[in-house]
């Protein structure tokens, strides 16, 4: 579903990604961990071209997406993204946040989009706030709306960029719960996170990144129990 070949990304003189090769199959839940500055978020943001790769190739469903001839907006419609800072549209209500993209891009009828929106908001447990503005929600509620907003475009893949890192501790659980149920439904997910419990429980594979490379990867139980690389060991010993 996603194939990445020798992906490099530099910001000026800073070489952030130094050659990533990766295959992500349909239905996989890939969790990316690693120290800050290791390039996890940059890698994720390259997948939907919020960052333009400096070199290398990214294929989605067999289509090379990082070339000039590709319609980037169409590619992004296949991939939902959830941000650390939620990024809900501040001037729109919860329901408008969820229905804007389907009505504007997919030309879904407003009534149909709202019906679908109600289902999605019910699914993330926040239907009672459909007329609230983002400023009136807690962090956990905002992030659940953000997930519903991304799902409204019926993506094939969901990208999560540290979705719980900006939340108060008591709100982390409600967001992880939604993500876990999404995983159970078979969604292909790529998740950058520091939540090792989630990685262990939900991840089908864990990638450990450091200094712009995937240093080691394995099934979560195996990686957490028997890390092979010294840097993985040292990282895990600091956070577990």
């Amino acid at each position: 579903m996603i194939t990445v070949k020798d992906l490099h990304k530099s910001f000026g003189a800073l070489h952030v990604l130094r050659g990533i090769n990766e295959n992500i199959a349909n239905g996989e839940k890939v969790v990316i961990i690693g120290p800050s500055g290791s390039g996890k978020s940059t890698f994720l943001r390259c997948l939907n071209l919020l960052e333009t790769p400096t070199s290398g190739e990214i294929y989605i469903d067999g289509e090379l997406i990082n070339t000039g001839s590709v319609n980037v907006s169409r590619v992004r419609q296949k991939m939902g993204m959830v941000f650390q800072q939620f990024n809900l549209f501040a001037h729109l209500t919860v329901m408008e946040n969820v229905t804007l993209a389907p009505t504007m891009i997919k030309k879904t009828e407003k009534a149909a989009a709202m019906e679908e929106g109600k289902k999605l908001l019910a699914r993330v447990g926040i239907l009672d706030k459909e007329n609230a503005y983002p400023a009136q929600l807690s962090g956990g509620q905002k992030q659940r709306v953000a997930i519903a907003r991304a799902l409204a475009m019926q993506p094939e893949i969901m990208l999560f960029d540290e979705p719980t890192s900006a939340l108060d501790p008591e709100m982390v659980g409600e967001v992880l719960e939604v993500m876990t149920s999404l995983a159970a439904d078979g969604m292909t997910m790529v998740v950058v996170t520091h939540e090792m419990g989630f990685a262990r429980e939900v991840g089908s594979r864990v990638l450990f990144m450091d200094e712009g490379l995937v240093i080691e990867q394995n099934a979560p139980d195996e990686l957490f129990k028997n890390p092979a690389h010294p840097r993985t060991k040292s990282f895990l010993s600091k956070i577990l």
Binding site: M81, F83, T93, Y133, A150
Partner: protein
């Protein structure tokens, strides 16, 4: 007390009623309103175009826009008015008030451009990224996500610019056009009494701007609806 009042009344009659001088005030006021609105409309059009040009990644758009803004902000409005009236439109027989309005519009456009640019930059880039990640184009994101939020920051500054503009049109007397300020000054030169005509025109400016400010404030409140917690 009665003596004082009758003196003021005499002064008023002499300056505004005798020889129907109030018609000068009305004519001048009409010119001021006309020039202000025309200049404001032109300023917003020029300013919007300049704002987007100055934020463009294409140097062919960006550099001329920055140059325009630099030149306008770096020279006095009076000098610009004189140059546009006597040099640029020197041989064009348009209505002088129209030429004046064009000059103020060109001037205001530079300030409006900076107001709009700052308003757009004030919207967190995460909003744009969220729009793009859903599959919206850059134009769709700008129109549906960024601009509606930027307006809240642009509007108060734009109102302020409009108020400054109304008062700035008072320099149009430099090229011999009778606006409100010039009308007051003209009456003074006829009646040799400074207090009544000058204070009178000042009060008219003040009332107009006060009313506009009230209107703007009411509208701004509506814009801030989504900020309520």
């Amino acid at each position: 007390m009665g003596d004082w009042f009758s003196r003021i009344l005499d002064d008023f009659i002499q300056n505004f009623i005798t020889e129907s001088r109030y018609t000068l005030i009305i004519q001048g006021f009409t010119v001021t309103v006309y020039v202000s609105f025309l200049a404001a409309a032109l300023g917003v059009i020029i300013g919007t175009a300049l704002a987007f040009a100055s934020m463009s990644k294409y140097k062919a758009l960006k550099l001329p826009a920055r140059g325009y803004i630099d030149i306008i902000r770096g020279t006095p409005a009076v000098t610009q008015l004189l140059i546009i009236y006597f040099v640029v439109f020197g041989s064009v027989r348009w209505h002088p008030a129209v030429i004046g309005a064009i000059s103020f519009g060109i001037n205001s456009g530079a300030y409006v451009a900076e107001i709009i640019r700052a308003g757009i930059l004030s919207v967190d880039y995460g909003q744009t990224e969220a729009g793009l990640s859903l599959g919206m184009t850059r134009a769709q994101t700008m129109i549906k996500i960024v601009l509606p939020q930027a307006v809240k920051n642009i509007f108060p500054a734009l109102c302020n610019e409009f108020i400054v503009l109304i008062k700035e049109t008072a320099i149009i007397g430099y090229v011999g056009i009778m606006d409100l300020a010039k009308a007051g000054e003209f009456i003074r030169s006829r009646t040799f009494s400074a207090f009544m005509p000058l204070l009178g025109t000042a009060i008219i400016y003040f009332i107009v701007i006060k009313l506009l400010t009230k209107m703007f404030a009411a509208f701004e409140k509506k814009l801030r609806k989504s900020d309520i917690r």
